[in-house]
């Protein structure tokens, strides 16, 4: 049963505003540890906003406000005056459009560890290799680590971004529509990768592709206009949704 598993995030009565625009309405859910949680919903429902709260990258937006609590393994993420940086070392993020730095493959993956004062060459090399292996990219790039990251294909760039995030050894990996800019083959490889990664990391993925959610996730949440309509094991949600709105969305009555 979902409720019995250890949770990574507890989101309690979360509200979010961009200025006067109320985008997340009293969302409460628990993201289980070492599982893949998918958040689905039509465009503009707030799924990206929700996931971006989990590593406080929304702090970059000037008139963004929240109320409610988000607990990471029991710690409140938004304690007054708290520094977001340590959170981002535990909660990594991969964005919708691959955004490697215009540097070499090696330098992209090494960036995070360098910021954490890892400078010794042997350790860096080991960390870069380990991260690229975890992202299933090592074999393709091991002889070209000095090449610019921008020479990689879209799918490879996205796996590089995953490796880059993993290099900080986070506990959680957030993915915001990671495959929407990729072709089906690249998408398939990333979905396989997520399946391997969940053994060690908690994964939360936002996707507008329902079939992907069904393929990849263990638990799914359906968000509509900022409200969490339903949340539960993926198989249940897709075959036997409790809420009529969920059923309408899943059967394609609205997009």
């Amino acid at each position: 049963m979902v409720g019995m598993e250890p949770t990574a995030f507890e989101i309690q009565a979360l509200d979010c505003w961009y200025g006067a625009l109320h985008v997340i309405r009293k969302v409460t859910l628990a993201i289980p540890e070492r599982r893949v949680t998918a958040i689905i919903g039509p465009s503009g429902c707030g799924k990206s906003t929700l996931i971006r709260c989990l590593n406080r990258i929304n702090d970059l937006i000037p008139d963004f406000r929240i109320s409610g609590r988000i607990l990471l393994k029991g710690e409140d993420l938004y304690t007054a005056g708290g520094d977001p940086i340590p959170i981002r070392l535990r909660v990594g993020m991969v964005f919708q459009k691959p955004n490697p730095f215009p540097k070499s493959i090696y330098e992209n993956v090494a960036y995070g560890p360098r910021l954490c004062q890892v400078h010794e060459r042997g350790r860096l090399d080991a960390q870069v290799e380990a991260s690229l292996r975890k992202a299933a990219l090592w074999d393709e790039v091991k002889d070209h680590l000095a090449k610019s990251a921008l020479t990689l294909s879209g799918g490879q760039q996205q796996r590089l971004c995953i490796a880059r995030a993993l290099a900080l050894e986070p506990e959680v990996l957030l993915l915001d529509e990671p495959c929407s800019a990729l072709d089906p083959i690249a998408t398939g490889r990333i979905e396989e990768l997520l399946h391997e990664l969940k053994a060690r990391y908690t994964i939360a993925i936002v996707t507008h592709n329902m079939q992907q959610a069904a393929r990849v996730s263990d638990v799914t949440g359906f968000l509509l206009l900022g409200e969490l309509v339903e949340f539960g094991p993926t198989s249940w949600l897709f075959t036997n949704p409790s809420d009529p709105r969920t059923e309408a969305y899943i059967t394609g009555r609205f997009g």
Binding site: L60, M93, F95, K97, N99, F101, P102, G112, L115, A165
Partner: protein
């Protein structure tokens, strides 16, 4: 409903002709100006001219002190203006975008770009020359020019910073970098060519400025090289102005030769700026 097309066709041709004529006249005037200066000044352009000091006799007057003055002035101005300008631009773009203080600074920078350059000279005169006691020196001149160049520098640097995609910053933040780390490691390196290009263009504008320097007392007859920051000095445009203002026609040739030297310096600087822009523009968009 019908309409004759013929009338509008000929009116359009007339308009095009007028516009092309206007552009041709403007660019033609530019060409005439350059050729005129070149023809007038060519006879005097020789090695002694470049290496002598000014003199009461036109044939012996040279541009050395002005050249050295301009060079020293520009180097000092750059040393003062670059850190301030880049720092201010980083503050406005990356740190305080919506804070009221940032708006105040922004408005000030925009306004200062429209202030006549001679007023900077008055500021420099009262503050640097008199209040700070720097006298009519190279240092006072450089500080005044730094203030003059600052708004353009800030604008150019902001453009360069803006050209760096937001996604790069997001990626860096998501990896736990602080704001300054993101700027130092990711944003600045990518913005650097744009900053360089912008600053070279800003300084090339400053090289041609005479009014503020005259006001702070840069002398028009300097027959020695400035040997320290507090020495009096002159600069290329001031020397040209001095020669053009003399009643003796003999000096007009010198003025034209000085103009050629000034234009060559500008050409070289702009060439470098264009080269930097071409060479490094590709990096972001592989």
């Amino acid at each position: 409903m019908r309409r004759t097309v013929a009338g509008s066709r000929s009116r359009e041709r007339l308009f095009r002709a007028m516009a092309v004529a206007a552009l041709a006249m403007a660019l033609g005037a530019l060409a005439v100006l350059l050729i005129d200066a070149l023809l007038d000044g060519w006879p005097r352009l020789n090695w002694p001219f470049l290496t002598s000091f000014p003199s009461r006799k036109p044939e012996q007057a040279g541009i050395l002190s002005a050249l050295v003055g301009t060079t020293s002035l520009m180097l000092l101005t750059a040393a003062a203006a670059l850190p301030l300008g880049v720092g201010a631009a980083i503050y406005l773009e990356e740190y305080a975008k919506t804070h009221w203080m940032a708006r105040l600074i922004e408005v000030n920078v925009a306004n200062l770009a429209g202030v006549p350059s001679i007023l900077y000279g008055l500021l420099g005169l009262q503050v640097f020359v008199r209040a700070l006691g720097l006298g009519r020196s190279l240092l006072a001149g450089a500080l005044t020019m730094a203030l003059l160049v600052l708004p353009i520098l800030v604008l150019a640097t902001r453009e360069a910073l803006r050209a760096v995609p937001v996604s790069i910053r997001e990626a860096s933040y998501a990896l736990g970098a602080s704001r300054w780390q993101t700027i130092w490691h990711q944003v600045l390196p990518l913005a650097l060519p744009g900053i360089l290009t912008g600053s070279i263009l800003a300084f090339s504008r400053a090289i041609g400025e005479a009014a503020p320097l005259i006001t702070i007392g840069a002398l028009t007859y300097i027959a020695f090289l400035p040997d320290s920051l507090t020495a009096p000095f002159t600069a290329l445009p001031i020397q040209i102005f001095n020669w053009v203002s003399r009643p003796q026609k003999g000096f007009f040739v010198n003025a034209a030769a000085g103009i050629i030297v000034l234009l060559v310096v500008l050409l070289v600087m702009n060439g470098i700026a264009v080269y930097v822009r071409q060479r490094f523009q590709k990096r972001l968009y592989l």
